[in-house]
Homo-oligomer: 138 residues x 2
């Protein structure tokens, strides 16, 4: 499998295909949130922490390093004290914004449907627990 050619095209269903790893990365919960937060422009470490909220510095660092490694954002250190580090999407990273936005909008507008479905399902399950003894004792 030639991963050096610039026009390599993958298949996410093949577990040995690197695009599956890529898909895993861009499907990662933290990564997707960070990318979307950076949509409007560069942010500092502490600003990211506040915007994405709750994430611990360790986790945020891991996510940022991974995204930097994958060429989706750049890390710029300013020689100041106290230090200042800006994170900014690369052009490649920016191309992810459209697909992620679609997914996000789906999520935000279909919450109710999914939560309602969960309630239904759980009620059905609760009822099933009470069903007559069709259930052989293991």
């Amino acid at each position: 499998m030639d991963t050096k050619g610039a026009s390599f095209i993958g298949n996410v269903m093949d577990p040995d295909c690197p695009s599956r790893m890529v898909f895993a990365r861009i499907g990662d919960k933290w990564a997707t949130l960070v990318i979307q937060v950076l949509a409007e422009g560069p942010l500092r470490f502490s600003e990211l922490r506040q915007t994405v909220h709750v994430v611990t510095p360790k986790v945020l660092t891991q996510v940022l390093r991974a995204l930097e490694r994958d060429g989706l954002l750049t890390r710029t250190v300013f020689a100041q004290v106290p230090p200042r580090v800006d994170y900014e999407l690369t052009p490649l990273g920016r191309t992810l914004l459209e697909p992620l936005k679609a997914l996000r909008e789906w999520a935000e507008s279909n919450v109710s449907a999914m939560l309602a479905s969960r309630d239904d399902y759980d009620e059905r399950e609760d009822a099933a627990i009470l069903r007559p003894p069709g259930h052989p004792g293991r």
Copy 2:
């Protein structure tokens, strides 16, 4: 926060907003793969295993139950022996196909760029390890 209203709209950046959970689910690695595999029509359990590949029955069951609970697919049991169970996307599940397809296409066509970036990054890291002793012993 009213999650009963049919037109509730969420915000994925709010860690307390249920849409964040939704986003986590539809960003889940296995879930996204399963949904895409079901794009072409209903499949049986064993067909799903073969197509998504490598996933163990336990994990596949978990993923399918979660997706069923969230109303993204239906599970139909045929009263046969040996049993036959079909999984099929609901209309709601089908609305996810478009956004997921975009993401998948992004992944499949940007693998090379990401892998190249990783190579660069790792080489820079390797070089950094050899840098002069600027590095205070902990």
